[in-house]
């Protein structure tokens, strides 16, 4: 069996205001069907993508935060959130829609070094 490619999706932008998080998530879902080793890392404003209670009705845009719930079932190996990014936004794990690993920047850096590909959104 060929070696799996290690791919990290890195989400750093707020979920609304630009399309990056949404299209990043779309790409992530497709990648899951290719049976590679996939992790999702959320940093900076990217952490807001997982915040509970999002309501985009007044923006008139699609509310997609609940889609993050299926990622583990789709085969995403790890979902990681940067500790400092959470803290800077006065968020805790309890504010998030799904269970995640909260890691220090140094741990995330070490994880990044192991990856074959990093896709930034």
């Amino acid at each position: 069996m060929p070696k799996k490619t290690k791919i990290a999706f890195l989400m750093r932008k707020a979920p609304h205001g630009t399309i990056y998080a949404y299209e990043g998530l779309e790409a992530l879902l497709i990648f899951c069907s290719y049976e590679q080793s996939i992790v999702l890392v959320l940093m900076d404003d990217g952490v807001y993508a997982l915040k509970k209670g999002q309501d985009t009705s007044e923006l008139g845009t699609k509310e997609f935060s609940t889609t993050f719930r299926v990622l583990k079932d789709y085969g995403v190996e790890r979902i990681i959130v940067d500790k400092t990014s959470l803290k800077e936004r006065s968020l805790t794990k309890e504010d998030l829609l799904i269970d995640v690993e909260v890691l220090e920047a140094a741990e995330i850096m070490a994880l990044m070094k192991e990856q074959d590909v990093i896709l930034p959104f």
């Binding site: 490619t5 299209e23 990648f31 290719y34």
Partner: protein
């Protein structure tokens, strides 16, 4: 080395497309292989042949098409393209519209995937 290229920003508004193009030229000159160029997000707008550019400026979509003519595969994400009005009628020659799975393939088969974005 085998390089896969991901372009995430549209033409003219952002340098990403120019940087990607220049990177590819430099890589080819050094004898590297380009496994393919994948256009995602606003990057898909690089591939419309409807661009009409003043003669004293570079013609970005033509430049990509010429690169495609040299045998480098240019892949435009179908989902991102549909959102932005890019379809086979307006697509430059030597590019094709295809799925995100093709980006996954580039990630797997390339030694490095280089992203050009914001």
């Amino acid at each position: 080395m085998k390089f896969g290229i991901l372009v995430q920003e549209g033409p003219y508004n952002h340098q990403a497309s120019d940087s990607a193009y220049n990177f590819i030229q430099a890589a080819l000159e050094k004898g590297h292989e380009i496994t393919g160029v994948f256009f995602y997000n606003d990057g898909v707008i690089n591939t419309t042949k409807l661009m009409d550019i003043p003669a004293d400026d570079r013609h970005i979509s033509k430049r990509w098409s010429d690169l495609g003519a040299k045998g480098i595969q240019l892949i435009v994400c179908v989902a991102a393209a549909k959102r932005r009005g890019i379809n086979p009628d307006v697509l430059i020659e030597n590019a094709r519209i295809d799925g995100l799975g093709q980006l996954s393939e580039l990630c797997i088969e390339s030694d490095r995937l280089i992203t050009f974005g914001d």
